[in-house]
Symmetry: C2
DNA sequence: TCAAAAGTGTTAGATATACACCCATGA
DNA sequence: TCATGGGTGTATATCTAACACTTTTGA
């Protein structure tokens, strides 16, 4: 990349294609959280995502992903975390880059290249956050017609989440610091949309060194109290591969 | 994304962060090809990648990934294919988006967000292409100190290629229209850097519906002639998930 | 007929899947 | 004591990995 470059400020012929103006860079985030199914408590949870109501053209009055323009001095991931926090009040427990959408005709008002992030937030975080007036949650599999190409983006994020939850340990990001294996299983079931064998799921998780028992039990259950587990932050000595602290598989876990 | 937007042309406060100037968008491509090991023919092939010599500051005289600024009217993938063609003369048989690198301090002359693509080219394509004066190939695992953060980018692309070759059918992109299972195996071995059991590899490939026998045999071998296979372009009815023809898992296969 | 690579067969071990069954607690 | 989810055991099917062995050609 960056074959040549004028001094900053004078952007020379950079990006001056047939359309004239250089592309603008935006950052957006698809946020996933687990919420109880209906109004009745105790039912199986399902995946929900928050959207922001657009208050101006284009796509006025349609729901859109939280996001905003990328400031010149802000990191991509930081901009994603900031913009999603400003609009929804949420603090993600997991945040990773998903894909960059740059279709020429994505926006009717000009070329926009959007770096999309995928975020997971804990259920308790959702409950205590104060969402803005123009924020509404929708079931991830029952979306309205969104602004721009955001329907396709969410669909892709959902697909990625489903494949990734099977080989990466990200399900715990939906839960609190400690959790039971049943809770973890219900996360997997909600994401995958299918029931899992409790016995086999338990074994496969217990086999992983990332999931460790705390030694404590959960109290207050109307039956046998389950063991509590914790996700072990894998040595945190994961070789970093980028000299400029840009890690393609970065993961932020909330303290 | 795209919460609000002035009319194109007047970019308003878009991207006007602490650093002032809005970020520039570049597109770069990590190109992989299989080349014979040493000068001796017949030895096991290895992975090579081409780089372009920088002819100006910053990072003058260092090798860099092929790429360039994104024109306002060009698709991301198109820009990747064009810039890699202009510099190396190559036509990729596979091209997919890898990751977007946007670290604030990636370039000493200003903020640059680079959408990086990963490309595979066939061996015969490499042989017939006329590379420019300032293009040189290096073994992917023996790189010099590259410009910017390109060492980290290539390392990441290599890691992705290794993991992806195991579950996705992309190895054939290094070969011609038809190929023997031995050739395909040697591709996997070169990418993974380890030998594979010929018998088991054959079975696992034959089990896949994507790999089909043409019915013909390869002639001119000094031993038993092997069957030729072809990659079946999986129905090409892969559900597209993006209304604006932007497919996160797009794949271009050369005719 | 020999070398070399193509291609098939077989088996032990590991992993996945289904499901029977016991355990510990609150009500 | 009973209902309920927590947790263990176990048998079967499937997949994986290792390697012996047969086949087919050119030299």
């Amino acid at each position: 990349m960056v074959q040549e470059r004028e001094p900053p400020g004078s952007h020379g012929s950079q990006g001056s294609g047939p359309q004239g103006a250089p592309p603008a860079i935006a950052v957006s985030t698809v946020i996933f959280a687990l919420r109880p199914e209906g109004d009745a408590t105790g039912s199986t949870p399902s995946l929900w995502t928050p959207f922001v109501l657009r208050t101006r053209e284009p796509h006025l009055d349609r729901w859109a992903l939280p996001g905003g323009w990328l400031p010149g001095g802000e990191e991509l991931e930081s901009a994603a975390a900031r913009t999603l926090g400003e609009t929804t009040g949420l603090h993600p427990s997991y945040l990773e880059q998903l894909y960059t959408f740059g279709g020429v005709d994505r926006s009717p008002t000009g070329r926009v290249v959007t770096v999309v992030y995928s975020a997971l937030v804990r259920t308790d975080e959702v409950e205590q956050a104060a969402p803005g007036e123009n924020v509404r949650w929708f079931r991830a599999d029952r979306l309205p017609r969104l602004a721009f190409d955001h329907n396709a983006i969410v669909d892709y994020a959902l697909e990625r989440l489903r494949t990734k939850v099977e080989y990466a340990h990200i399900a715990h990001s939906f839960l609190g610091e400690t959790f039971t294996l049943s809770q973890l299983r219900s996360v997997h079931e909600a994401v995958l949309g299918q029931e899992l064998d409790a016995a086999n799921f338990r074994r496969s998780m217990a086999a992983s060194p990332e999931i460790v028992a705390t030694g404590e039990l959960m109290a207050g259950t109307p039956h046998r109290p389950p063991k509590l587990y914790r996700y072990r932050n894998q040595t945190h000595a994961t070789r970093h591969r980028d000299a400029q602290s840009e890690n393609p598989t970065a993961e932020r876990v909330r303290p």
